[in-house]
Amino acid sequence: MAENFMEEYGQETSREAAERTLSYFRELFSLEMPLGRMMKMMPGMVKFAMHGKDTRVDLLKFVPQMMPMMKAAVSGKREG
């Protein structure tokens, strides 16, 4: 086991670790909605819709707002 963080990282510089962190943040805070990301969200929405009539009505109210995002996800094109 490594004694300290310099041993743990080996030859890697802080810049390399920070570059990796940057790309992680870029992905994490990205507003793009690829299909894969969209599919991950579906089970939650389905569960919520299946819970009862009032939740279904609530979710349907948001459909117009979600449509552009869904279109972008399906077509793979970015809005604007």
């Binding site: 963080f5 743990e8 920070a18 570059e19 962190t21 943040f25 939650g44 569960k47 919520f48 819970h51």
Partner: protein, 237 residues
């Protein structure tokens, strides 16, 4: 333990700013006055924790040292440092962002995986955001179970959340990626094995840290900012 200056470049530092939603932008204003550390309750208990040094390391580009440190995980978000900072640096937010980054590097999972049991048993199933039972054997011995304390105060032992509330929490958790994150967490670690008694060890559900979390390989953290108990502790050891 220090790194070479050439590891870092201004050009990279400039590109860091917009991504991190401004926290680095603020950090460069730091005067190194140490007010944050002076008023910090966490720093009073663990002398190796020093917000000033952590900001300095970020500004100087010693990112490896911050990411792999135990000290990054000692903040408990009281925001005292933010309120006293003459340059209005939002240090708690910076800590929050860097903890995410540290987890991406494989550090800090031994702390985060304590949430697993709570997430499965209370949060997603009952919608309760505060643990309803105490799993820490030390707290059970000294303070007692939360349910008992609530009952003595004339409250029901567990809080009740409506079924619709639970459905909403589940949806939000799925949409925000929280459920996926919880699934990554493996095992429950409760006490430092060096300090617990045999009786406590029997009840302890300690499991080893997962070697991998998703694609990320996990690592143990280091006390990068000095001895945890201060100089006295180091001499005694």
């Amino acid at each position: 333990m220090l790194e070479k200056v050439k590891d870092w470049s201004d050009e990279f530092y400039e590109s860091f700013k917009p991504i991190a939603m401004g926290f680095v932008n603020e950090a460069e204003k730091c005067l190194q006055c140490g007010k944050c550390t002076g008023q910090c309750p966490a720093a009073a208990v663990t002398p190796s924790y020093n917000p000033r040094k952590i900001i300095r390391d970020l500004v100087f580009g010693n990112v490896k040292r911050v990411l792999s440190s135990v000290e990054l995980w000692q903040c408990f978000f009281c925001s005292g440092c933010y309120s006293v900072c003459p340059m209005d640096i939002n240090f708690p937010f910076f800590v929050f962002m860097f903890r995410l980054a540290a987890m991406n590097e494989g550090y800090g999972w031994e702390d985060v995986k304590q949430l697993e049991g709570y997430a499965e048993k209370s949060y997603l199933k009952d919608g309760i955001t505060v643990s309803t039972f105490e799993r820490n054997p030390y707290v059970l011995d000294t303070v007692g179970d939360i349910g008992k304390i609530r009952a003595e105060a004339g409250l029901p032992p567990e809080r009740k959340v409506s079924a619709r509330g639970v459905a909403e929490i589940n949806m939000i958790s799925d949409l925000s990626g929280m459920t996926a994150f919880m699934k990554q967490i493996g095992g429950v670690e409760l006490l430092d094995c060096k300090s617990c008694t045999d009786e406590q060890a029997k009840r302890c559900k300690r499991k080893p840290m997962p070697s991998k979390v998703g694609k990320v390989k996990t690592h143990y953290r280091f006390y990068n900012y000095g001895e945890p108990g201060g100089k006295k502790h180091a001499q005694a050891g």
